[in-house]
């Protein structure tokens, strides 16, 4: 099946499960490991990632297809995407601060940090490589963010329980055991591969 004909919902679903940007591409690992110590802040960061990826994906699609392609400047995509993401995060920060101080404080430092989150840039690059349409790029942005948030929430939940109940050998404490768990979650997600198979 030609990729352009795939329904955006399927792209969305695949982005959460079989194409999970974190568990299959291992993008956005730094904040994933750093912030997954407790569920509350990981949900905050997850929400921020969903937000930013959903909006930057279609904007970056427009920038790529309507600006870079016509002038044959595809090689500038990295710079262009990063600039767009940075500007968008700035604007979102202003809006959230104005609308809800509590949400602004809950997201705290995470929001500006998203500017350098590779999952967001990866999301923009994938929609170019996979030649998504505009609608598909929205679905993909939303799905990729949701998938990332789901993965970090899962890891945070497990780590919080392990903190209380399990004894980890000292050599594996912290990032070590988190990486092992991430591997196991990633394997579990392979179980979804029978449901959808697209790139």
């Amino acid at each position: 099946m030609d990729i352009q004909n795939v329904h955006p919902f399927i792209i969305f679903f695949a982005a959460i499960t079989t194409n999970n940007i974190l568990l299959t591409n291992f993008l956005g690992m730094c904040s994933f490991l750093a912030v997954s110590k407790d569920l509350k802040s990981s949900l905050g960061l997850g929400a921020a990632v969903i937000f930013v990826s959903t909006f930057t994906a279609p904007i970056n699609w427009l920038v790529y297809h309507k600006l870079l392609v016509p002038y044959e400047l595809e090689y500038l995509q990295y710079i262009a995407f990063i600039v767009v993401i940075a500007a968008f995060v700035q604007i979102i920060e202003m809006v959230i601060e104005r609308v809800s101080t509590l949400l602004y404080l809950a997201l705290g430092i995470f929001l500006p940090l998203i500017t350098v989150n590779c999952a967001i840039l990866g999301c923009a690059l994938f929609l170019v490589i996979r030649q998504y349409t505009f609608m598909q790029s929205i679905a993909y942005g939303l799905g990729a963010g949701t998938g990332w948030a789901l993965a970090i929430a899962a890891l945070a939940g497990i780590r919080a329980r392990m903190e209380k109940k399990s004894k980890v050998i000292p050599e594996l404490e912290g990032a070590g055991i988190a990486l092992v768990i991430t591997g196991i979650i990633a394997m579990a997600f392979i179980g979804f591969s029978g449901i959808v198979r697209i790139n």
Binding site: V63, L67, L68, Y71, E72, L73, L76, I79, A80, V83, V84, A87, Q90, I91, M94, V95, E97, R98, T101, L102, L105, A106
Partner: protein
């Protein structure tokens, strides 16, 4: 050549559009317009540009709430009550507020942003904290390392303070010091002398402001002061008073004694123990001796710790002298001012003689 120019143009255009968007967003979202701050039910009203913290907005209007950390939300001293327009209590404030304060809408002014019209309540005495552009009227050498400075307030301005409080003196940039700095000095003049301020300043080797005062300030120079601040002042009671000071700690005690004379408080006995190393460290002796002669309720006891020559003063370190002079001190109240070491030692002696610790008031010079 053309591809390079196109690339530069396209990228510049993209950045330009985004910058424009950011500016538009800033105009709509980060622009709070003019907001009014109402202090103590209309006692004072300010118009400020919204968007900044309440603490800095108030400071820009010369209303200075105490702040130790400079607005980072880590000291919890800039509290004030916000009656209207403060928004929800923020997680950054919670650790610094007790249940009573949370119930009565007390907030940290450095965390609250001015987003609209706001009504606040601050302690009355904070309204008298002002900034003064003064002129130095006189500089007196009291001892080899202590000077007394008298600052004349601008025409028509007065200062309202409690005897014992202090003011912050600013130094201008000098030599290698590139920035303006400020340090706190106790006021030694009486509150009734409200057209001027007197400070007693002891030279601190390499001290930023004291070096400025000792090496650069001259009579007739301009100097900036902010004040009054502080919780060290005479409490209302009928108890006998014992004052203990060393070095420039004499300043607030002098102010307190002069204030007692002005207010006609003669039913309280007051004894002032002034600790110094040798005779060359004594100053204001004549003045205190004169007060002693005129007011029977006052006694001045200078004590020299390292001067075995023939002199009319007490000998020994100040704690020993105080201990020698009193039996039971249960009914007394103490005012101490000086170095932390001296104060800690005095508190030990006083409480050892039965004085309750909450009747010992002090100002530590650290």
């Amino acid at each position: 050549m053309t591809p390079i120019i196109t690339a530069v143009l396209v990228l510049s255009a993209l950045s330009g559009i985004l910058t424009l968007l950011l500016l538009v967003a800033e105009f709509f979202f980060a622009n709070y317009g003019e907001c009014s701050i109402d202090v103590n039910k209309g006692e004072k009203t300010f118009k400020v540009e919204g968007g900044a913290s309440l603490l800095t907005s108030l400071a820009s209007q010369k209303l200075f709430l105490p702040s130790g950390c400079g607005g980072r939300g880590s000291c919890g001293t800039c509290k004030c009550r916000i009656i209207e327009g403060g928004g929800p209590l923020l997680p950054t404030e919670v650790p610094y507020l007790n249940d009573e304060e949370k119930k009565t809408d007390v907030r940290l002014s450095c965390q609250v942003k001015v987003r609209g019209d706001i009504k606040i309540e601050v302690p009355e005495e904070l309204l008298s904290i002002k900034e003064f552009e003064t002129v130095i009227e006189s500089i007196t050498d009291f001892t080899h390392d202590i000077k007394g400075l008298r600052f004349k307030l601008p025409e028509g301005e007065t200062i309202k303070f409690k005897a014992g409080q202090f003011a912050n003196l600013f130094s201008n940039p000098y030599d290698d010091v590139k920035e303006e700095t400020s340090r706190a000095y106790s006021i030694s003049s009486a509150p009734s002398d409200n057209r001027a301020l007197e400070l007693v300043i002891r030279y601190v080797p390499n001290g930023m402001v004291t070096t400025y005062v000792f090496k650069h300030l001259k009579e007739g120079d301009k100097a900036r002061l902010i004040g009054p601040f502080g919780e060290f002042f005479l409490r209302d009671s009928d108890r006998e008073i014992v004052c203990i000071a060393g070095g420039s700690g004499l300043a607030p005690i002098r102010s307190i004694i002069l204030d007692m004379i002005d207010r006609g408080i003669s039913n309280r006995k007051a004894t002032f123990f002034f600790g110094a190393v040798s005779q060359r460290d004594l100053y204001y002796v004549e003045e205190f001796k004169a007060i002693e002669k005129e007011h029977p309720w006052f006694r001045f006891v200078p004590a020299l710790s390292k001067d075995d020559s023939d002199h009319p003063y007490e000998k020994g370190i100040i704690t020993e002298v105080v201990a020698r002079n009193y039996g039971d001190m249960k009914e007394l109240e103490a005012y101490l001012c000086g170095s932390p070491g001296m104060i800690d030692a005095c508190v030990k002696v006083l409480t050892g003689k039965g004085m309750s610790v909450d009747r010992v008031y002090y100002d530590k010079f650290s």
